[in-house]
């Protein structure tokens, strides 16, 4: 009756969120008096998850699963859950996982709760705290089904080292052709740059920047900080930046450690989308901009003066603290 955790990898290497969900699962397993088992796909070093308290890793080596496939992955995880008699499955909140988790829920007839922000409030009844109303509130959700799936919100539980030695086993799920009816034919992805989903720092620009030609300084600032770039809804609607950068209620949520908003006034939908970020900095000419009320630090000033100075000073800071 172990806790099963799906640990994502990319090109054989575990993603950062894999360590967070592994930490979550092993803390939960301890609470339940059991152990945590991870499932991974084509991971190079599965037993490294022992560092986060996992005691067993079922690793699947299958070239057909090198590219993410939601249904084939979900069916593999379901089979592992059955084999391990796992009643609790822990997953992340990445785009891929939010694709497979509902399929897994359907398959296991499980209650699935995404966007969970903390360890369970109680395990009997099983109750978790999650964000709701697009981050304008929280819900305490009780899961009544026999099997439970918990989707841990990015960057909410944190990574906790808990050295255990993890045994790695090969796992061969029985997949059929029907599991591959939905095929990836092309992936267009930024490489070597932080993404909004997993970046520690996000630098975001709004209409105050006046036009797409002024995004050079946003990208440079992001570059200095190793940050991802994002934008407000009007900016993506105007076509200044791609939709994938739109953060807010109908765009992407942001749960970074640091969110820097430049020339964004702070519409309620935008504030909701970024409210899970831990530290918020606002740079805006308008001292009355609503974003200042939701921020930790602010500079009332012209982005075209402040941002270039910030870039220079941060470069000096980085050089001193390297």
């Amino acid at each position: 009756m172990s806790v099963l955790v799906y640990t994502e990898s990319e090109n054989g290497k575990f993603k950062k969120n894999a360590f967070e969900v592994a930490s979550y699962a092993s803390a939960l397993a301890k609470k339940l008096g059991t152990s945590a088992t991870a499932i991974s796909f084509n991971a190079e070093d599965p037993s490294s998850l022992g560092a986060y308290g996992v005691s067993k890793v079922l690793n699947i080596s299958n070239a057909n699963l090198n590219t993410f496939n939601a249904k084939a992955y979900a069916n593999s995880i379901a089979e592992a859950a059955a084999q391990e008699d796992a009643k609790t499955v822990v997953v992340s909140s990445s785009a891929d996982t939010k694709f497979l988790a509902p399929l897994l829920a359907g398959k296991l007839k499980a209650g699935y709760v995404p966007n969970v922000v903390a360890a369970p409030e109680s395990t009997s009844p099983f109750t978790v705290k999650r964000t709701a109303f697009s981050n304008k509130g929280f819900a305490y959700t009780q899961i009544n089904s026999d099997v439970k799936i918990i989707g841990v919100s990015n960057n909410s539980f944190g990574i906790h080292e808990d050295s255990t030695s993890a045994a790695s086993e090969n796992f061969n799920p029985s997949l059929n052709d029907g599991d591959f009816n939905t095929k990836s034919i092309e992936i267009d992805k930024v490489v070597g740059k932080a993404t909004i989903a997993d970046a520690d720092i996000v630098v975001s620009g709004g209409r105050g920047l006046k036009g797409p030609e002024n995004w050079g300084m946003i990208e440079e600032l992001a570059n200095v900080l190793g940050a991802a770039t994002a934008c407000s809804k009007p900016v993506s609607d105007l076509g200044w930046r791609p939709h994938g950068e739109h953060v807010g209620q109908t765009g992407k949520p942001v749960a970074s450690n640091l969110y820097i908003a430049i020339g964004i006034s702070g519409a309620i939908q935008h504030l909701a989308g970024v409210s899970s970020s831990k530290v918020k900095v606002v740079i805006n000419t308008d001292a009355e901009a609503p974003f200042f009320k939701a921020a930790d630090y602010g500079i009332v000033g012209d982005a075209f003066e402040v941002v270039p100075q910030l870039i220079e000073k941060l470069k000096e800071f980085k050089a001193q603290n390297a």
Binding site: K71, A95, F99, P102, L103, A105, G106, K107, K109, G111, Y112, P114, T127, K129, T131, A132, F133, S134, K136, G137, F138, A139, Q142, I143, N144, S145, T182, K183, S184, E186, I187, D188, K189, V190, T195, A197, D198, I201, L225, D237, H243, G244, H246, Q249, T250, L258, I268, Q269, S275, V279, V281, F292, K293, A295, D296, Y297, I299, G301, V306, L310
Partner: protein, 246 residues
């Protein structure tokens, strides 16, 4: 092609969120309800399939009588018929079971839902529905083309997008990108008049498990006041030494 668009009735995006009854219920007082934005992008794409490819478009919602203005709006935008499953949509699994029953009885080829409702953010209804019906599924879908029974979709992934080949019958979890914001339609007077005459079938729910239950709600803790600084040196200093964010 028969299309079913699943509509969730949600507070409009500008709503302030409050709770009532000892923080156990969402306070609907003074709240304007609308078609869930993620569903509206899908509905608008369905209109394109209707106009260019002769598809028929039905809409469905799971909800009480108070959701009827929202579903009528979908009819005014151009859907042909509407179905309301007369039950409170308190759990994603339960809602998916209701929709699965509607899809089975209606023989739909394509089911378009939103990737999540902007109120309870379950994000699970389209995927569970696809599993219950053994239909193909694409989530966070930002473009969709259908040619015969073949479908080509684009989905948003972390840091980019992925092109996917699949086939009908298909369930989509849609979002902005299926159509642009500027493609969204405001119902005109003729549409509103016609919508009054269109069929709205009310059906009773089928028995299904409620896998989850929201027992309590909470608003985010109030933030401390913003610290304003007038130069970037102070900002860097605070971010480094106080916030430990850089």
């Amino acid at each position: 092609m028969k299309i079913l668009v699943c509509i969730s009735n949600v507070p409009d995006t500008t709503s302030k969120i409050n709770f009532t009854d000892g923080d156990t219920k969402f306070d609907t007082n003074g709240v304007q309800f609308v078609i869930n934005p993620n569903d509206e992008f899908g509905l608008t794409r369905a209109m394109w399939f209707k106009e260019k490819q002769g598809a028929s478009v039905h809409v469905v919602t799971v909800g009480g009588t108070s959701t009827e203005p929202t579903i009528r709006k979908a009819l005014a935008i151009g859907a042909d018929e509407a179905i309301r499953v007369n039950a409170e949509p308190t759990d994603g699994f339960f809602v998916a079971e209701q929709l699965a029953d509607v899809v089975k009885n209606g023989g739909y080829d394509l089911v378009i839902a939103g990737r999540e409702s902007i109120d309870y953010n379950g994000g699970m209804v389209p995927g569970i529905l696809a599993t219950l019906l053994d239909m193909n599924f694409v989530n966070t879908c930002i473009s969709l083309e259908v040619d015969g029974t073949n479908a080509t979709a684009m989905r948003e992934i972390d840091g980019g997008k992925e092109k996917i080949a699949t086939s009908l019958p298909l369930v989509i979890g849609g979002q902005k990108g299926l159509v642009e914001e500027s493609d969204l339609r405001i119902p005109n007077m003729r549409g509103i008049m016609m919508a009054r005459k269109k069929t709205l079938n009310v059906i009773e729910p089928v028995a299904a498990q409620k896998a989850t239950e929201d027992i309590k709600f909470e608003k985010p803790a109030a933030r401390g006041a913003v610290k304003l600084v007038d130069n970037v040196d102070d900002l860097i200093n605070l971010l480094h030494n106080e916030a430990k964010a850089i």
